[in-house]
């Protein structure tokens, strides 16, 4: 027979540890998982990092993170979102909060990365779940994406435009994307990168380190 399941006692109401929680969202195929892996590779030697991913639909995705993330399995948790990735990061954050708090309790991390499932331009994180959010789009999705706006493009704390190495191949104008992003976002930062390039993640790393410094201040 099955033994009685553990009744984990939840921490008292809404504790906030010292960890900085960063949400990473954006459409399918933009490079969210690749960005999480690149950040873990670069940061896991200097910081304690844990990851909650909502983006595991296939075992391939899970294996990708395990192979590339340089994180131990017990530092990665998957949350299933019942076909509604945006609900789990915005309208009903309870399942993600459970996993974030559990990882914080177990590992006392400096940085928590919460990866959304791939969604559309309107899908953003609730600030009840994370402290800062990165929205990832890619050049191959068309250079009109920043102009289309939507909460992810206009309100995210960092907009990442990935796969700039493909711009020429897909006829995308990076200056158009850069200018449209600036127009949509005001003072909020945008970086154009290629995660496939050596040190391609560097501009995002700089932003994460600055955010961490500000968070600890």
């Amino acid at each position: 027979m099955h033994r009685e399941e553990t009744q984990t006692v939840l921490p008292a109401a809404r504790p906030r540890g010292r960890a900085l929680r960063i949400g990473i969202g954006g459409p399918v195929g933009g490079g969210k998982t690749a960005l999480v892996a690149a950040l873990c590779r670069a940061l896991s030697t200097e910081l304690s990092v844990v990851v909650v991913t909502n983006d595991i639909y296939t075992t391939e995705d899970a294996d990708f993170l395990r192979r590339n993330g340089v994180l131990a399995d017990e530092r990665i948790r998957a949350v299933r979102t019942g076909c509604c990735p945006h609900t789990a990061i915005r309208d009903d954050i309870t399942a993600n909060l459970d996993e974030v708090e559990e990882l914080e309790r177990l590992h006392d991390p400096d940085l928590v990365l919460v990866e959304s499932g791939g969604d559309n331009l309107t899908a953003t994180f609730s600030y009840g779940l994370i402290d800062r959010q990165i929205f990832v789009v890619d050049v191959a999705g068309g250079d009109k994406v920043p102009r289309k706006g939507g909460p992810g493009v206009t309100r995210s704390d960092l907009l990442v435009i990935n796969k700039i190495d493909l711009a020429e191949l897909v006829g995308a104008d990076l200056d158009v994307m850069r200018n449209d992003s600036a127009a949509q976002r005001g003072d909020r930062p945008t970086v154009l990168i290629s995660l496939r390039a050596e040190h391609g993640v560097a501009p995002v790393l700089d932003w994460v380190r600055r955010s961490l410094t500000a968070h600890r201040a």
């Binding site: 009685e4 109401a13 979102t81 609900t87 789990a88 309208d91 309870t94 459970d98």
Partner: protein, 224 residues
């Protein structure tokens, strides 16, 4: 205000952790037993005969219990009625999620909070009481969420016509309301006699077995 509080607890917009659970629909679809609106109606009627009286009874009990009741005992009595560990875990995940939300809305019994992740029907019933609702409201909410969660999952997984599914949900609502009424009668006896054995103890072997299988799949869209 009571009616509004009950509606709030019925509203899927309330963060209650339920949206990621299919109520057994995902695994039943995967096993090939559910693919049409007619299948869904049969599935729901099956749930009404088995799981519904149990969940509704415990929700009604939780609404009737005093704040200083032995909540752990009633929580264990519900565990005893859910054979598969997978479904007990699913119930506790949703109970913990709902508790996190309602504890910020109304005063919730300390004995319930001390359980950490109590079973979902207990939290639902206690929240109904805290919001000013009745035991019948609590039992009705338990049945409503059982049916609604399954319907929503079937629409997302199978692309069923949501208007047709709404009609099915309304059709089984009549029998569902009767089950809620019976559950309240049982709950009143159970609380008065301080004995959980007055509550329904029915289950469906296939549901329990499929839930256990679902929990072992590495990749599923729903948590249960």
């Amino acid at each position: 205000m009571t009616a509004l509080a009950v509606l709030l607890l019925a509203d899927s917009r309330l963060p209650n952790g339920g949206h990621a659970h299919s109520g057994g629909v995902e695994t039943t679809v995967a096993a090939g037993f559910l693919s049409t609106v007619d299948d869904l109606e049969l599935f729901l009627r099956g749930r009404l005969c088995t799981t519904a009286p149990v969940l509704a009874g415990f929700a009604a009990v939780a609404c009737l219990l005093d704040d200083d009741a032995d909540w752990r005992r009633w929580d264990r009595a519900l565990s005893a009625r859910i054979p598969s560990a997978a479904l007990r875990t699913a119930s506790r995940l949703q109970g913990g999620a709902l508790l996190r939300t309602v504890a910020g809305m109304w005063p919730v019994p300390a004995g319930l909070r001390q359980l950490g992740r109590p079973h979902q029907p207990l939290v639902l019933g206690a929240a109904t009481s805290a919001g000013g609702g009745s035991a019948l409201d609590a039992a009705g909410l338990a049945v409503h969420h059982l049916l609604g969660g399954a319907c929503s999952a079937a629409i997302r997984l199978l692309g069923l016509d949501p208007l047709a599914v709404a009609a099915v949900q309304a059709a089984v609502g009549g029998p569902g309301a009767e089950i809620a009424r019976q559950a309240v009668l049982a709950a009143e006896i159970a609380v008065t006699s301080d004995d959980p054995s007055a509550l329904a103890a029915v289950s469906a072997p296939l549901t329990e077995l499929l839930a256990a299988e679902h929990a072992q799949q590495e990749v599923t869209l729903f948590a249960s």
